[in-house]
């Protein structure tokens, strides 16, 4: 599938709050859109609409030119690699079983799954021999986050949704994983949406940056244009550099 994503006049209301206010965005194949915004600006909400965890109260969210309401959600979700903000590893599964989840749901043969799991743990910097049989509670927060990333990548999804996946990492590992993310994107041309509240990360990873403020799209720009933006919210973010 050639992935294009689109938010078309999307509003989202919950508990009397307008969390997303008339959001219009288009993401073309192979791009990385960074959703930047302060806490509570609606980033997670927007992301959850792309794999049908939430549906718009008004407007449409389209994946491959088809509204999420018309998708077979199980199929859609299995074709998307999603790192949720709280990581959400299964506490009763080993690290190996956690990473193997989507390939197993998709019915891959066991030897292919095993090879894939080891490859991924290597990629995120977790020695497979040491980590495969551990349980999530035996890992540090940053290690769990990396397992979350490995799990999202496991079934070779075309589309990646990352919700602050590197939040709990030390700056060195963080840059390492950002590099891997860039390499992965350039090599496999994966379309991705990356949520962060860190401008530095946004400038580094995004081909485009969408700045959300109280559910509204304030700025949509390439990193080069973004640093020149003059809006107050953009300036506020840029001043943290």
């Amino acid at each position: 599938m050639s992935v294009t994503l689109e938010f078309r006049d999307v509003c989202y209301c919950i508990g009397g709050n307008l969390v997303l206010d008339n959001l219009n965005l288009r993401i073309v194949e192979g791009c990385t859109l960074v959703l930047l915004g302060r806490s509570g600006s609606g980033k997670t909400t927007a992301l959850k609409m792309l794999n049908g965890l939430l549906f718009p109260s008004g407007g449409q969210v389209l994946v491959d030119d088809r509204a999420t309401t018309d998708w077979d959600l199980i199929q859609l979700r299995r074709s998307i690699g999603y790192v949720i903000q709280e990581v959400g590893l299964f506490p009763h599964f080993t690290i190996g079983e956690n990473v193997a989840l989507v390939p197993r749901l998709k019915g891959w043969p066991p030897d292919r799954i095993a090879a894939r799991v080891s490859e991924l743990l290597d990629q995120v910097g977790l020695e497979p021999a040491q980590f495969l049989d551990r349980y999530p509670r035996q890992l540090s927060g940053g290690q769990r986050q990396r397992v979350g990333v490995a799990r999202a990548l496991a079934a070779e999804p075309k589309l990646l949704l990352f919700d602050e996946p590197f939040g709990a990492l030390d700056p060195v590992t963080r840059v390492e994983l950002q590099d891997q993310f860039l390499a992965l994107r350039d090599r496999l041309r994966k379309t991705s949406i990356f949520v962060t509240h860190d401008v530095r990360e946004a400038l580094r990873l995004g081909t485009e940056i969408a700045l959300l403020h109280r559910g509204r799209l304030e700025v949509l720009a390439t990193p080069a244009e973004f640093v020149k933006s003059s809006g107050p919210e953009a300036r506020a973010f840029l001043s943290t550099l």
């Binding site: 794999n51 965890l53 959600l73 199980i74 199929q75 859609l76 979700r77 299995r78 998307i80 999603y82 949720i84 709280e86 990581v87 959400g88 590893l89 299964f90 506490p91 009763h92 989840l101 989507v102 749901l105 349980y135 799990r151």
Partner: protein
């Protein structure tokens, strides 16, 4: 020591008691567990069903056995009525703990399971139930231990079991008879409690 004339009857009544408890618990689990799962999916049913089970628990057991006697089909004198009453008592802890165990699963875990593309059934069997198992088991444990005790009252309506000794002992002011019923019942309760705690330890390795 135990008078020999009691031994044979003790063995027989203990057997009856165990059967009474096993049958009641089997039915209570077979009904309570799926109902508990249903309640996690249908919030609207929670108040009426839990309310019903709650009310059942508050009826004194002797009174409940009495109420059931005149009811056709499920009532009357004998084992069947006793089992109906025991099931009604055991329902609440099983129902409540199944519900609490599943609702207690970390919402981030549930959300990631859904986001990974698990079907409702896969979510239930591979994620929610394994994580809720210790809580559900604790409910079955409480229900079983209580049922072992309550089942002694079944003798009042001809249900048999160790209560036969106790009621006979009370009627004839014979402490030996009372103890012949009470001690095996207490031992059964301790034994099953120990058995469950062993299973719980095995289940909650993760």
């Amino acid at each position: 020591m135990i008078p020999p004339y009691l031994l044979q009857e003790m063995a027989q009544l203990t057997g009856e008691h165990v059967v009474l408890v096993l049958v009641s618990m089997a039915i209570a689990v077979a009904a309570g567990f799926p109902l508990g799962v249903l309640l996690t999916r249908r919030a609207a049913l929670r108040t009426p069903l839990l309310g019903f089970a709650n009310v059942m628990q508050t009826i004194p057991s002797l009174a409940l056995f009495g109420f059931l006697i005149p009811i056709p089909f499920i009532g009357g004198i004998g084992k069947r009525t006793a089992i109906v009453a025991l099931v009604l008592y055991a329902l609440l802890p099983i129902l409540r703990n199944t519900l609490a165990g599943i609702l207690g699963v970390d919402s981030a875990v549930r959300e990631s399971a859904i986001a990974m593309g698990m079907t409702g059934r896969q979510l239930l069997w591979q994620v929610e139930l394994p994580l809720a198992a210790p809580t559900i088991l604790a409910g079955v444990r409480i229900a079983t231990v209580t049922t072992i005790g309550t089942a002694t009252i079944a003798a009042a309506i001809g249900g048999g079991g160790l209560g036969v000794f106790i009621f006979r002992g009370i009627a004839s002011v014979d402490t030996t008879q009372i103890l012949a019923g009470a001690i095996p019942a207490a031992l059964l309760a301790l034994l099953s409690d120990g058995g469950f705690s062993w299973i719980e330890r095995r289940v909650s390795v993760s």
